[in-house]
Symmetry: C2
Subunit: 329 residues, 2 copies
């Protein structure tokens, strides 16, 4: 059942069927009706494989994400999907899960025409892309990016946001502040750590090196375990913990509770992202909100624009964050 059958059925040529199918206007209304009737009658469906080859586009957008199970990324993906589908594109989701090999050559999917463009949230992939000089490929960076890389990006000002979080903690009288960071493969991890260090220095404080933790996981469990270790080690524990992710922060609160520490009385906890669960737990999590959906939407719009005008130089855009003061700090 191909376009040829429909053409025969309608008594026209394949070109005319194609025109009708694609909504071209230069078709006599009467002919259009006849074609549409033939399509209807035959139950014909266009073969997008053929169309894709002919038009040399897949109308697929590749999204590379470290872990779709993390609510932060899930929300961003929703944002991407909403604008993509609205523009007639579909989303190819690639969950790298930090597994080497899985993220190995996703950019090759662009070269192999499997996707028309890509949105990359994965730092490893970004580094690889930059290293490979995939700069000419149609992709944009989201959350993780290299401002100097020449690749369009959207994210937030991590340095400033983390500084605000830190100053908030200081303003509440906290002085013994620990940083619970993720692996430094992440740009945001580096920037937030720098802000942590600088803010402390500005306040005339010297950070205890044992309080700067680099976990290589954002899981609740990782945060909980680290918090237990932090709270039970040595004599004087920290009086505040700045976690670079809400998932970590929630784990931290759980861990502290398990060893009898009160939040925020004994230890204040501040998170990052403002995922939906943050407002639900006890105590409600004070955190730095990122506009997750908008991050995804903006990334998708940038990419789509790049596809339309490949020559245009797209801006790097920084979206506003917001300190959400709740009860945990």
């Amino acid at each position: 059942m191909s376009i040829l059958n429909v053409a025969d059925l309608a008594g026209v040529s394949v070109a005319t069927v194609s025109r009708v199918l694609n909504g071209h206007t230069n078709v006599k209304p009467e002919t259009r009706l006849r074609v549409m009737a033939a399509v209807e009658r035959s139950g014909y469906r266009i073969n997008e494989l053929a169309r894709n080859l002919r038009t040399a586009e897949s109308r697929l957008l590749l999204t590379m994400v470290p872990n779709i199970g993390n609510p932060f990324y899930a929300e961003i993906v929703r944002g991407i999907d909403s604008v993509a589908s609205q523009q007639g594109y579909f989303m190819l989701l690639c969950n790298t899960d930090g597994e080497l090999g899985r993220e190995r050559s996703y950019f090759d999917m662009l070269r192999r025409h499997r996707a028309d463009g890509a949105i990359c949230l994965d730092p490893t992939a970004i580094q690889q892309a930059l290293a490979e000089e995939s700069g000419a490929l149609p992709w944009v960076a989201c959350c993780e990016f290299d401002p100097a890389g020449g690749v369009p990006y959207v994210g937030i000002d991590n340095y400033r946001a983390a500084g605000e979080a830190m100053r908030y903690l200081l303003s509440r009288g906290r002085r013994r502040i620990a940083l619970m960071n993720s692996g430094d493969g992440y740009l945001y991890a580096q920037q937030r750590q720098q802000a942590y260090l600088d803010t402390l220095a500005e306040a005339g404080l010297t950070p205890d090196l044992r309080w700067i933790l680099n976990l290589d996981s954002l899981d609740y469990e990782a945060g909980a375990a680290a918090a237990v270790a932090l709270a039970t080690a040595g004599s004087d524990g920290p009086d505040a913990i700045f976690a670079v992710s809400d998932t970590l922060a929630i784990g931290v609160i759980n861990g502290l509770r398990s060893v009898g520490r009160k939040v925020p009385d004994d230890v204040a906890v501040i998170g990052f992202d403002d995922i939906a669960i943050a407002a639900q737990i006890d105590p409600p999590l004070t955190t730095v909100a990122q506009p997750m959906q908008e991050l995804g939407q903006t990334a998708a719009r940038l990419l789509l624009r790049r596809l339309v005008e490949p020559a245009a130089t797209l801006p790097g855009v920084l979206l506003p964050h917001r300190l959400m003061m709740r009860a945990s700090a």
Copy 2:
């Protein structure tokens, strides 16, 4: 830069290049080397658009999900993605978000050859598929399914699982049990509600109709709001709440706390799914665990098998659930 260029470069025909590219064995080693060198030298990448048309397969699996922002679905999607990618397939993610029109004709994507097969987690889509007699199409149902529909599926025994949850509540002395359900468009909602009703009846209890709630959202906020309403309405509130989703249950706990009710002392709360956060909150959530990753993996394997042998009649598979007794009930 097409296969023809590579052929010229290697001094062979396109057929030979194709053979090498596809790992056919009937190529002289020496020739193979020459072709591989040419590929290397030219930076050639195969055009999958062309290959797809020729082989009449997209190697894409469509996944229809109500809301990827819900951790339950996100985990299942991870499961799907892990086996799909392992088998050389990629995942087209479609987030229906309950938006009509978005879920309208996803099955058409199969007919249009945009995907080779589909995994459907969305009840609306399933109903539509069944109604449309899409039975011949290569798709499988996951979590939501019609046992009599003739479509391969994987899920759990919702009736039995919900019954266990209810009996657990009863065994703890709870008698005034409310059901916080989602919209009845979901099979699981119907089955769990039936189990709720039956278990109560077996115990000689008559449910208070005002305690059977049908929310049309699984959001934390929806659960919180409903719990507040439940707890503050009338004189004698329920002494237990069975929520059909952990997200709802977590919202419930938050809502109860906001009006001064203690969990589990005043009101026991039991959830469903066992998403990662369930073990982290205070009190840790008692819930019915579903094997989320495995649900996704099984769905993907069923589908892949169906693609390989279209004629095979695949089984409906029910995976085991497990009651996770924690502190909330």
